[in-house]
Symmetry: C2
Subunit: 75 residues, 2 copies
DNA sequence: AAAAATTTATCGAAAAACGATAACATTGTG
DNA sequence: CACAATGTTATCGTTTTTCGATAAATTTTT
């Protein structure tokens, strides 16, 4: 639920490793990891732009909105 | 160039005013304005989520990556 | 002109990104 | 097993930025 970060998905598609991407966009692996694993609570546009540029994709490929599941959701 | 915020576009599509949207997502009009007019340099996922929820759309509808135009760009 | 809506601009506080660094877990290779 | 490569998690500190509150200025509508 909430905003889902799909950077890991796009990285898999592009066959690029965390270390590689981190180096290319000038982020530490540690901080990229936080992003990848949905731990970040915000993102700077400069970072979003760098990732889009490097992965050749759009913000919509990296971020997704998942509406809250209704309470009485069946299994 | 860079990351473009299209919140104003989606608001137009949904026929909702700044004051209305601001009130619904719990943001001040002033801060929503900063977002709308591309003045923000980052965004909290909580805010992005609230907008997506209220406008019933995806982050990709609100954020766009515009690659830098090549230097020798013709008029 | 008047009213309403929007944008712009400060100020301050709270939150968060991000760098640097280190510890730890995984996985693969000889 | 030892070793290296990769990725995750966690702290600490600095810098940045959001966002609220507020008010002024601007634009739009009636």
């Amino acid at each position: 639920m909430g905003i889902i970060v799909n950077v890991d998905v796009m990285m898999a598609r592009r066959k690029i490793s965390s270390g590689d991407l981190a180096a290319r966009i000038g982020l530490t692996q540690a901080n990229l990891s936080i992003l990848k694993t949905n731990k970040a609570k915000a993102i700077r546009f400069s970072t979003l732009e760098a990732i889009c540029k490097e992965l050749n994709c759009q913000p919509g490929d990296l971020l997704e909105y998942e509406p809250e599941e209704s309470k009485g959701d069946a299994k």
